[in-house]
């Protein structure tokens, strides 16, 4: 358990990389070893905010996270440069568990960032095969398409500017109808994940989804991120199995804001 760093560790940014329009990766060295794909960090932008970010690059030398500029904190992060400093604590959460040999990975939007190190881990074992769907609104938002070798990569865009026209869950359903998978793993907009989990559950395909909730403590204490019967997204998740999600009525329907009040998804 004490692989975690729980007081923000100040790290120097080693490098940054624009992955697509408004999507950037920040790289740095981090002392914690053995980060599991799907785990996340709390990123402190000193003086501003602290927000959760999945680890999108895992290597012995350095790690990175990839994010979309959506609000004040991510905007500030976006403007940071090499040698700037941020505070990092973690890794937190459970991460994905790979099951079987033939795996379908479905990422939507920045969910792709969360899934990237998982795909690399799947590929690290020779006999596994992986089909990957990356779903975005439009072509410009695509990233990580050239990061992996030997994957069967399919793309969906809402506007059809490239690949399948429609949402990733529709494409996923088509593929699931045609092929047998040992496991489906997804991260992206909750509505999309909800569809995929429902499809898999009804077909009894093991499925895992990585959820987002408003995170404060990140260590399973404050209760801010709880879903269902007290499942803490930051500690018991963010990755949940399909059968667990089937018992969480709010999955796909509502989340809680920073005050704990329910809001529609």
């Amino acid at each position: 358990m004490k692989n975690e760093i729980t007081c923000p560790r100040i790290v120097e940014i080693k490098n940054t990389k624009i992955e697509a329009k408004n999507i950037k990766t920040i790289f740095f060295n981090f002392p914690s070893k053995n980060i599991i794909p799907g785990q996340f960090l709390m990123i402190w932008i000193p003086g501003l905010d602290e927000i959760p970010m999945s680890v999108s690059y895992i290597s012995d030398r350095e790690i990175g996270f990839t994010f979309r500029k959506v609000g004040e904190a991510t905007r500030a992060l976006y403007d940071l440069k090499k040698r700037d400093k941020i505070g990092v604590r973690g890794p937190y959460g459970n991460g994905f568990t790979i099951k079987g040999e033939k795996i379908l990975v479905v990422g939507g939007g920045t969910g792709i960032a969360t899934l990237a190190p998982l795909i690399e881990k799947i590929l690290s074992t020779k006999k596994r095969r992986v089909t990957v769907i990356f779903g975005v609104k439009t072509k410009d938002e695509l990233f990580f398409t050239r990061r992996f070798r030997n994957i069967d990569l399919k793309i969906s865009t809402d506007d059809g500017s490239i690949g399948f026209k429609g949402v990733a869950s529709e494409l996923a359903e088509k593929i699931i109808n045609n092929e047998d998978f040992d496991q489906v793993i997804t991260c992206g907009p909750e509505k999309m994940m909800k569809k995929i989990v429902d499809i898999c559950n009804s077909r009894k395909i093991p499925v895992q989804a990585s959820l987002e909730r408003y995170i404060k403590c990140g260590i399973g204490l404050c209760g801010q991120c709880c879903i269902g019967e007290g499942l803490r997204v930051c500690k018991d998740g963010p990755v949940f199995e399909g059968d667990t999600l089937a018992k969480i009525p709010e999955f796909g329907y509502f989340k809680r804001d920073a005050s704990g009040r329910k809001i529609k998804i």
Binding site: P8, D49, R256
Partner: protein
């Protein structure tokens, strides 16, 4: 003696607790689901997140930081507001059978009374006044360090509800006993001590306080000797039951509080240190300890250090 011959039940005014381990306010108790999970994990009672009249987001992150011997938090009393909280209480009450104690914070008597009445209407088994949050302007400690205000608020809340009234005090005062006695005199049924201790963590790499609110409340192992001291001092001077909180990680920690005079204890940060299973673990450890030491009833331990006191 077997474990099941050992009686760790306890009472707080009219509340009967199957064991002495309650969930402290602010820990996994903002929504019904979390509280149900904690109840299933063996907690004897639950104090809800402190609820105010209006929805509050709390402070910006970072709201929490772990330090060497504990945790410093400055959540800023986030809560969905008393109106929205009704459905949470009702749901917990439907799904559990342990006492649910509504924690509330307000600016003045009027707010506290309104909140307390709502909690009673929702079905809460008792109300706990948070007069001790160390980091929210205009609330908590700012009120709870003033005996006169404490007296007025306790008296008016007491007269507006018929369920037991707990008053949670802060160690960040010159004389916690004076405040406890004022609360007792004005009708408090139970004293809870202590809330977290005002503290701060500065990140020396950036030269910045880590918490966005700069100052927060210190909880966990480090504060146990402070909490035990407060419970000891208070128990000596009041006749109502005292509930101990602060840095309880093991049954031994809890026993220190019982011996100091606590009739029950609340568990906060240990949910992080030992997981949500901490309630079951503590009760088992307590029974083991009692068995080894030849105690049959928790009541035989409570206040032992008071009895053993000379002079």
């Amino acid at each position: 003696m077997k474990n099941d011959e050992i009686d760790t039940s306890t009472r707080l005014s009219t509340l009967v607790l199957k064991n002495p381990f309650m969930l402290a306010s602010g820990i996994m108790d903002e929504d019904a689901g979390s509280m149900i999970r904690i109840a299933k994990n063996g907690a004897a009672a639950i104090i809800t997140k402190s609820i105010g009249t209006k929805q509050r987001e709390g402070y910006a992150n970072p709201t929490i930081v772990e330090v060497d011997c504990g945790i410093i938090n400055s959540m800023g009393l986030p809560n969905p507001g008393i109106e929205a909280y009704g459905e949470e209480i009702k749901l917990v009450k439907k799904k559990t059978s342990i006492p649910i104690i509504g924690s509330i914070f307000g600016r003045d008597e009027k707010e506290f009374c309104l909140l307390a009445k709502k909690m009673e209407t929702y079905g809460a088994d008792a109300v706990e006044l948070n007069l001790s949050c160390p980091h929210a302007k205009g609330y908590g400690l700012e009120i709870g360090s003033n005996p006169e205000k404490v007296g007025n608020i306790v008296a008016s809340v007491k007269s507006s509800i018929s369920i037991p009234l707990l008053v949670k005090l802060s160690p960040n005062v010159t004389d916690i006993v004076e405040i406890a006695k004022t609360a007792e005199k004005n009708g408090a049924d139970i004293i809870t001590a202590v809330n977290s201790v005002k503290a701060m963590k500065i990140d020396i790499e950036t030269g910045l306080p880590v918490l966005s609110n700069k100052i927060g409340g210190y909880s966990g192992r480090a504060i146990k000797p402070i909490g035990v001291r407060c419970v000891y001092e208070i128990s000596k001077e009041v006749d109502i039951p005292v509930v101990g909180v602060g840095g309880i990680l093991t049954a031994e920690d809890a026993i220190e509080y019982f011996m100091a005079g606590a009739s029950a204890v609340q568990i906060g940060s240990a949910v992080y240190y030992r997981g949500v299973e901490v309630f079951k673990k503590l009760n088992n450890e307590l029974k083991e300890w009692m068995k080894r030491h030849g105690y049959r009833k928790l009541l035989d331990i409570i206040g032992l250090a008071q009895k053993n006191r000379r002079g």
